[in-house]
């Protein structure tokens, strides 16, 4: 029983990071209706930026804020420089560019910071919480993810620009007709996705250690979370991410064949199962419409 609870708790903690990645994926999917394969590498690159700032002696939370801001700006730049030109291009063009970005960020990080594994600090200290049930860092990951979700909710629900972004995603043509600059809304979506990815990267780096390939499997879990939650719903993305974290951990512990080596196929299994059983995901939007 204790092992069960322990596994669920640590599943929730890593699930929180998958949830962040899923959120980032959903942000871009909402804006351009494609899955950004390079999302993980962008997050990894952001984390290296944070590492570099820390190495230069910048205090943790200042480095955190700077990294998020730089990633936000970087996301906007990528959209304006690259994806704006692809707006009406076919899916395959997008896929190719995503793969290119993946390769560019991966090799660039290796080129600048080399492929050695680096430790990355946790801002939440060490020790044990709740009688050894979880570490402070695990608790921190969960809190940070929920905070990100709450901020997004407030932003989309209560601000004018959030409303404009929702309108631009739902109906670009009508959005232009009320004067919304749809292109900039898409760029903003990229910026926010990139910033959320940076948060996820900085939160997971103390667990998996920092190296250019650290986000590859995490992105896959993020995809699984996003698909499970329904690609159109931020809340769904978080629930999906948490669920994938728990499923992954329980499968690794209780299904003898799975073990640590075969955890990753579990994520793929989740994706396939969702697409077969319920393609719109748990909270995928069903539009009520009368004609």
């Amino acid at each position: 029983m204790e092992i069960l609870i322990q596994q669920i708790v640590s599943g929730v903690a890593t699930g929180a990071i998958y949830a962040c990645m899923a959120l980032a994926i959903v942000m871009i999917y909402q804006a351009i209706h494609h899955l950004n394969f390079a999302q993980g590498e962008m997050a990894m690159f952001s984390t290296f930026v944070a590492w570099q700032l820390l190495a230069w002696g910048v205090p943790y939370w200042l480095a955190f804020v700077l990294t998020v801001a730089l990633s936000f700006a970087g996301g906007i730049v990528i959209e304006r420089l690259v994806f704006r030109r692809l707006e009406n291009a076919p899916v395959l063009s997008h896929v190719v560019v995503f793969i290119a970005l993946f390769a560019i960020f991966n090799s660039l990080a290796g080129f600048i910071w080399n492929f050695e594994i680096k430790p990355f600090p946790s801002p939440f200290g060490s020790g044990a919480l709740f009688g050894g049930l979880m570490s402070p860092h695990q608790a921190g990951m969960i809190v940070v993810t929920l905070l990100v979700l709450a901020l997004l909710y407030v932003f989309f629900r209560f601000t004018r620009i959030g409303l404009a972004m929702r309108a631009a995603a739902a109906n670009p043509e009508s959005a232009r007709l009320v004067g919304i600059r749809v292109g900039w809304m898409t760029a903003l979506g990229w910026g926010m996705a990139s910033a959320i990815g940076a948060v996820a990267g900085m939160m997971i780096a103390p667990v998996v250690f920092l190296e250019p390939n650290m986000m590859v499997s995490i992105l896959l879990y993020g995809f699984a979370g996003a698909v499970l939650g329904g690609l159109t719903s931020p809340v769904g993305a978080v629930i999906g991410g948490l669920a994938v974290g728990i499923i992954e951990n329980l499968a690794g512990t209780y299904i003898p064949v799975v073990g640590p080596e075969l955890k990753l196929p579990v994520a793929l299994f989740v994706i396939v199962a969702v697409l077969v059983v319920r393609p719109s995901g748990l909270l995928g939007r069903k539009i009520v419409q009368r004609v």
Binding site: A167, E173, S174, L177, G179, I287, R290
Partner: protein, 237 residues
């Protein structure tokens, strides 16, 4: 008097098919101009071309400013509100959010609440359904919402694409009654595209008849309404 909108040689194509073959027309400030014609004559295309929603060539001036190369967002920001075919509703947003979006390009936040209240004055039914998803509205209510959303811009010119489309006769009457009222109280100029010539001519001062991408007849609404040969040839009643 200088016209509010003047159009010279407006052309637009869908692929190889030329839909507008050089339109010339003007819209007077404060007036309602009707653009009539059969299916496929190019009425909707004209509105879409004016708004920059499709590639077009020719010269369009709004209030002395050239807009034939401007982007849709910028044209809207000059005060041209388009009520599109199909009404352009944001289905998954609430009625009130749809209205607020209409004012999105205006900087003044505080006036928005007043304007929403005024729109509810025109359309009490929208007020009853303010928290409802706009996709659940009936066709007539969605048309009212689309007009309300356009008015939230405080436009100088409203482009209306078939406001009577798909509505029951009584609802059409109501919509046109409100348009007449809006015209009186808000001093908005309108370009009205309609298949329902009867309603359109009752509201309009001036009318153009479009035939396969060209203006076939131009005149005051009264002339056109009273000219039996035009009615028989173009309007079918």
């Amino acid at each position: 008097m200088k016209p509010l909108l003047s159009v010279r040689g407006l052309e637009a194509s869908y692929g190889d098919l030329k839909v507008l073959r050089g339109l010339d027309f003007t819209i007077a400030e404060g007036g309602v101009t009707a653009l009539l014609g059969a299916n496929g004559a190019g009425k909707t295309t004209t509105l879409r071309a004016l708004c920059g929603m499709i590639p077009r060539s020719g010269e369009v001036e709004f209030d002395g400013r050239p807009i034939s190369r401007a982007r849709t967002e910028d044209i809207v920001r000059l005060g041209i509100a388009h009520v599109p075919e199909g009404r352009g509703t944001f289905f998954n947003l609430t009625v009130e959010e749809n209205l607020e979006l209409g004012a999105m390009s205006r900087p003044a936040r505080r006036e928005v609440a007043d304007d929403v209240a005024r729109i509810y004055g025109y359309f009490p039914r929208l007020k009853e359904r303010r928290r409802q998803q706009a996709g659940t509205l009936s066709g007539g209510e969605q048309q009212m919402l689309a007009i309300g959303r356009a008015l939230m811009l405080r436009p100088r010119l409203m482009l209306l694409d078939e406001p009577s489309f798909g509505l029951a006769p009584l609802v059409v009457e109501e919509v046109f009654r409100i348009l007449a009222h809006v015209r009186e109280t808000m001093k908005v100029s309108m370009l009205l595209v309609e298949q329902n010539a009867n309603f359109a001519l009752s509201l309009a001062d001036h009318a153009y008849l479009l035939e396969t991408g060209e203006i076939a007849v131009a005149g005051s609404a009264e002339e056109i309404r009273n000219d039996e040969s035009i009615r028989n040839a173009y309007l079918g009643y």
